[in-house]
């Protein structure tokens, strides 16, 4: 196995596990939030963006909306983490062209986050 194909295998494993962990974590948060909402019903409301630390704090307190909000944010972060892993992996493997492409995607995602949440 060549060093590059070895790197590709490692990257595939890392991406596989990052997607799986993100999915399971967000699923648990969403299920927890729904259970909390079901136990203490309140009118459904759209999520209003707020500081991440406050969301985490509220979620730790068992707030249904905050748990679901955190679950959705975790789900949204999952593909972004996957891009970061690939960018770092390709940089480490000195695959400059692919690393540059991954960084370009990250910049575009940053623009989207700025437009949406900024």
């Amino acid at each position: 196995m060549t060093p590059t194909s070895d790197c590709s295998r490692r990257l595939e494993h890392a991406v596989h596990y990052s997607l799986l962990v993100g999915l399971v974590l967000s699923g648990l948060l969403l299920a927890g939030g729904l259970a909390a909402a079901w136990l203490s019903p309140a009118p459904a409301r759209p999520i209003q963006p707020q500081a991440l630390l406050k969301t985490v704090d509220d979620a730790l307190g068992g707030n249904a909306g905050a748990l679901m909000n955190l679950g959705i944010l975790t789900l949204m972060a999952t593909p972004i983490v996957r891009v970061i892993i690939l960018a770092c992996g390709w940089l480490t493997d000195r695959q400059w062209r692919m690393a540059a492409v991954a960084l370009a995607v990250l910049v575009l995602l940053g623009v989207s986050l700025l437009l949406g949440l900024g």
């Binding site: 909402a37 959705i72 789900l75 690939l86 370009a104 575009l108 989207s112 949440l117 900024g118």
Partner: protein, 301 residues
């Protein structure tokens, strides 16, 4: 509608969408958005936002498996993601400028070709490829699988091409990506539709990658799915920022779709024939007609 009823109804909608997506080989958005709008009365923009978040979930689940199997081409996927992300951002921004009913009309217009592609099925996509020849080892018929596997060894895969093991194809399948600029253009349009309408866009991207860029169907489907998560995040952030993601509905839909996808992959072994696919193609066309009528009537329907 009480919150319990809303949770159960959306879970059911997500479950049905997930099953249909797995059985029919489409993304769930084309079913979920009309269900949320027509059956549950959710405003169009909220339905699109909910669908986009479910797309992230299904993409992550499926891509996780495909990446491990080596069928998803991460280099090609990342390259095309530049175009899909730009498309998704522009689609998400455009959606904010369009009123709900005209947006329903645009969605209905996109449902029509989707229904046609679903009616024709994969056979049409493969036959439309029409490039099976000795000089094209990638698209040779399965009967020549061993010969094709032997020829794959000599394929020059280039910078974005890849190879993967496929028992059904008789071993190693290698391919070279052709006409990248055209693929980038198609990826931009698919990303734009995703951001605007909350669909994954795989129904257009997969045949295009196969026909235009010579990527084998299995790799095209896996790579398209790999891309969809990042594409969806780009526009989901815009909907999130506008406060158009409703927590209970979205959470229920995501969990329902994930459970439905898992259930659908089991059901898929027993059903999923041409008749089922065509039945839902007709259903999709009927939904398109109803959404078009609502858009045309401007809220009086």
């Amino acid at each position: 509608m009480s919150e319990t009823t809303q949770i159960l109804a959306t879970l059911g909608a997500g479950l049905g969408t997930g099953v249909l997506g797995a059985v029919l080989g489409t993304g769930g958005g084309v079913f979920l958005v009309p269900l949320l709008v027509l059956a549950l009365g959710l405003p169009m923009h909220y339905a699109v936002a909910t669908s986009i978040v479910t797309v992230i979930a299904t993409s992550s689940a499926v891509a996780s498996t495909n990446v491990e199997r080596g069928t998803a081409n991460m280099r090609l996927g990342m390259t095309l993601e530049v175009a899909t992300t730009v498309g998704a951002i522009s689609g998400g921004l455009t959606a904010a400028l369009i009123a709900p009913r005209p947006l329903e009309g645009i969605f209905a217009l996109v449902l029509v070709p989707t229904a046609v592609l679903m009616w024709k099925g994969r056979a049409a996509e493969s036959s439309a490829g029409g490039r099976s020849s000795a000089s094209d080892p990638v698209n040779s018929p399965p009967a020549d699988a061993q010969e094709r596997a032997r020829q794959s060894d000599s394929v020059e895969i280039g910078f974005l091409g890849a190879q993967y093991q496929d028992a059904a194809e008789g071993g190693l399948v290698a391919y070279r990506v052709e006409r990248l600029p055209a693929a980038l253009g198609i990826a931009f349009v698919a990303g734009n539709l995703s951001g605007l309408l909350g669909i994954g866009g795989g129904v257009f991207k997969v045949p295009a990658l196969h026909l235009v860029s010579n990527v084998p169907m299995k790799a095209a489907a896996a790579t398209s799915n790999f891309m969809i998560g990042v594409t969806a995040v780009a526009s989901a952030a815009l909907y999130y920022g506008r406060g158009q993601i409703e927590a209970v509905v979205t959470s229920s839909a995501v969990l329902g779709v994930l459970a439905g996808s898992a259930l659908g992959s089991v059901i898929n072994q027993y059903v999923g024939g041409r008749a089922v696919r065509r039945l839902f193609a007709v259903l999709l066309a009927a939904v398109a007609a109803q959404m078009m009528y609502r858009a045309w009537a401007g809220g009086n329907a």
